[in-house]
């Protein structure tokens, strides 16, 4: 794992050392020529991206890659996946190993401005929390002084953790392991008192990894904002647009009540908003350099945002919470598709 990190960083260094002045190379053209998009996903976090028993990648981050493939190729299957650890993800995107990073990655200013990449939007609102064994009888994160905390390196989580313990004058003993599997092993083996990551990650880990999920509690404190979003690298504004509007299309479809089940029926609707969305009217697809049925293809083949959420996250016990649509009390909001 470390070798891979170092290797991809080294390859990245070589690429930058070797090439002469890269002009904004159209990533979408390269993908079209190749016949598929290469998508960077998490190495394994249930509900977001994880291979199923047939080796097929599943999760909302994977669904997003499928949505982009559907928009670009008209075929959601034309996406391939590169599992990346927290440490590998940015170099993989910068060096061109992947076209999109769709890997529960927090959008921060320093990442957006300092890493040569652009976040396209937010596909999951989250915040960082703490999980402890119930028998510890801890009621609040403020009682965690002196605790050993398992955390993944190179994450905003690691920084928020240090900030929070510093701000509250608590003593911290971090155990930092790169692979999420190893971190979870360490926590569930009792190497750490506390496991910290985004609350969604805690819920998923508890549901999918704990011998007895009831033995672990998630503390009430949510210590940070963690807006996850897909990212692309600098140098191709067209690709940025395609990925960005693919995300908005999945959100807009939910607002319009368009699902993979009813979209063919709705195609006969006289509602001009829906007519534009599915590409029967207007030239929105063309202005994006895509087939006019790009959004129809996304919804038909992958489904809207809510369908994705219900398919992958609801079964794990995750609540829509902040990830409801704006007009239902949540934060999800897509600019008008017109």
């Amino acid at each position: 794992m470390m070798i891979k990190t170092t290797l991809s960083a080294a390859v990245f260094a070589l690429v930058l050392l070797g090439v002469t002045n890269v002009e904004g190379g159209p990533i979408s053209d390269a993908a079209l020529k190749r016949g598929f998009i290469q998508c960077g996903v998490n190495t394994g976090i249930a509900g977001f991206s994880q291979p199923d028993s047939h080796g097929e990648w599943r999760g909302i981050d994977v669904d997003f890659c499928r949505a982009v493939a559907a928009a670009l190729f008209g075929d959601a299957r034309k996406a391939r996946y590169t599992p990346l650890t927290a440490q590998q993800r940015f170099t993989a995107l910068q060096s061109g190993e992947v076209d999109i990073l769709s890997r529960n990655t927090t959008w921060t200013m320093s990442r957006d401005t300092g890493l040569g990449l652009n976040f396209v939007g937010i596909n999951f609102y989250d915040g960082q929390g703490f999980m402890v064994a119930k028998k510890r009888q801890v009621k609040s994160a403020k009682q965690l002084s002196g605790a050993t905390v398992c955390v993944q390196p190179g994450t905003t989580t690691e920084l928020n953790l240090a900030d929070y313990f510093r701000a509250n004058n608590l003593k911290l003993k971090p155990v930092v392991v790169e692979k999420i599997e190893e971190v979870l092993n360490a926590y569930f083996a009792g190497r750490c008192d506390v496991y910290t990551t985004d609350v969604s990650g805690l819920i998923v880990a508890r549901a999918s990894r704990a011998a007895n999920p009831a033995d672990h509690v998630i503390l009430p404190e949510v210590i940070s904002k963690e807006p996850f979003g897909p990212a692309v690298r600098h140098g191709d504004d067209h690709w940025f647009d395609v990925v960005k509007w693919s995300l908005f299309a999945t959100i807009e479809a939910e607002e319009l009540g368009l699902t993979s089940k009813n979209i063919d029926q709705q195609a006969n609707s006289t509602n001009p908003v829906i007519q534009r969305f599915i590409g029967a009217k207007g030239e929105l697809g063309k202005s994006l350099g895509l087939d006019n049925r790009w959004a129809y293809n996304i919804i038909k083949q992958v489904g809207n945002y809510g369908e994705s959420f219900d398919r992958h996250l609801t079964p794990l016990g995750l609540d829509r919470g902040m990830n409801k649509l704006w007009n239902r009390g949540g934060l999800l909001y897509a600019p008008p598709i017109r």
């Binding site: 794992m1 470390m2 990190t5 170092t6 960083a9 080294a10 990245f12 260094a13 930058l16 050392l17 070797g18 090439v19 002469t20 002045n21 890269v22 927290a86 440490q87 940015f90 170099t91 910068q94 990442r111 401005t113 300092g114 890493l115 040569g116 510890r136 965690l144 002084s145 002196g146 605790a147 050993t148 390196p153 190179g154 994450t155 690691e158 920084l159 953790l161 240090a162 900030d163 313990f165 510093r166 911290l172 003993k173 971090p174 155990v175 930092v176 392991v177 790169e178 190893e182 092993n185 360490a186 083996a189 009792g190 190497r191 008192d193 690298r233 600098h234 140098g235």
Partner: protein
């Protein structure tokens, strides 16, 4: 004489050209990288080293460190952690390896076979597998701190590591005993599971190789030397100390140097089990700052420095034992 001089001159000119070409190539590559990074708006340069790191490090043996310290200090912590575990592993693997090497030559059949089995098993298993094994033994087989094993007064073995009393610099000298307070032991000294697993793994693994080097060195001394020394009336100890050992060391030291260098480099497998060594911390920094080229350059520079220092010392040591005139 004239032709000799021209050969000399020519070789100097060639070497000057080669050096100039290398410098130019390096300059071109670096300038290009800087320009490309600038174009992609990726931060570059080493200014980040003076900024606050913002992350905690699990253990720092010699240097106090917290999240408010700089990236540079974090790297220093990583360097010292690497150096500390590698230095201990080198010392203990040399002792253990020598004993096992001697045991393998022992006339005692059982001892010799046990040593042979040890060498063959340990050196044929990948080191990273052994590290996972030791780490799992400590974190999954040992009890939680509250039920820690207490084999000796003040010594506690738990899945949080090995806690034992430490000396306090006071008059009269006193011992500071570890006590369970809240989540973990406080007071005394604590070796973390990550450190212990890495130290065990590196020591046992390297010892297997050193055992073979020692055995080879002793077997390389002609039997006649032993017999001749004995017949001159030297005691067994004198024979070993003054006749066999100096000759064996000539064979032992050069490959031993390679083993020491391997130990340093192998210690970077620490990332697999979460020991905060140089590579682990540099990787974190690369990720937090996005400055991959600088981070990798620092890793290379530090390893090169440590390795060259060890190689320099061992070469000096080797020269003391080498046959005069046998050096190349």
């Amino acid at each position: 004489m004239g032709s000799l001089k021209s050969i000399r001159l020519r070789s100097i000119v060639y070497q000057a050209f080669l050096a100039a070409a290398l410098v130019l190539a390096a300059w071109y590559l670096i300038a290009n990288a800087v320009e490309n990074l600038g174009q992609r708006r990726i931060a570059s340069g080493f200014a980040f080293l003076a900024r606050e790191s913002g992350f905690e490090i699990g253990e720092s043996t010699f240097l106090s460190y917290n999240a408010a310290d700089t990236y540079l200090r974090a790297i220093a912590v990583g360097f010292l952690n690497t150096f500390w575990v590698a230095a201990l592993a080198i010392v203990f693997s040399t002792l253990l390896g020598t004993l096992i090497g001697l045991a393998r030559l022992s006339p005692n059949w059982l001892l010799a076979k046990l040593a042979a089995v040890y060498v063959e098993v340990i050196r044929n298993l990948p080191l990273v597998v052994q590290l996972f094994f030791w780490y799992a033994v400590i974190t999954e087989r040992l009890p939680a701190p509250a039920e820690a094993l207490n084999p000796l007064p003040g010594v506690f073995l738990s899945n949080r590591g090995f806690a034992f009393p430490s000396l306090v610099a006071a008059t009269p000298l006193a011992l500071d005993y570890p006590v369970l307070e809240g989540f973990n032991f406080s007071g005394g000294a604590l070796l973390s599971p990550e450190f212990v697993a890495l130290f065990f793994g590196l020591t046992l693994y390297t010892a297997a190789f050193i055992a073979e080097i020692v055995r080879a060195g002793i077997l390389a001394v002609a039997r006649g030397q032993f017999e001749a020394a004995s017949s001159l009336g030297h005691s067994q100890w004198q024979v070993r100390r003054f006749i066999i050992l100096p000759q064996a060391l000539r064979v032992i030291v050069p490959p031993l140097t390679s083993q020491y260098l391997n130990t340093i480099k192998n210690s970077s497998l620490a990332v697999a089990i979460g020991y905060p060594d140089l590579v682990s911390i540099a990787n974190t920094i690369i990720n937090q700052t996005g400055q991959a080229i600088e981070g990798i350059a620092i890793i290379m520079l530090v390893y090169l420095t440590i390795s060259l220092a060890i190689a320099g010392f061992m070469n000096w040591y080797n020269r003391r034992f080498a046959l005069k005139g046998a050096e190349l």
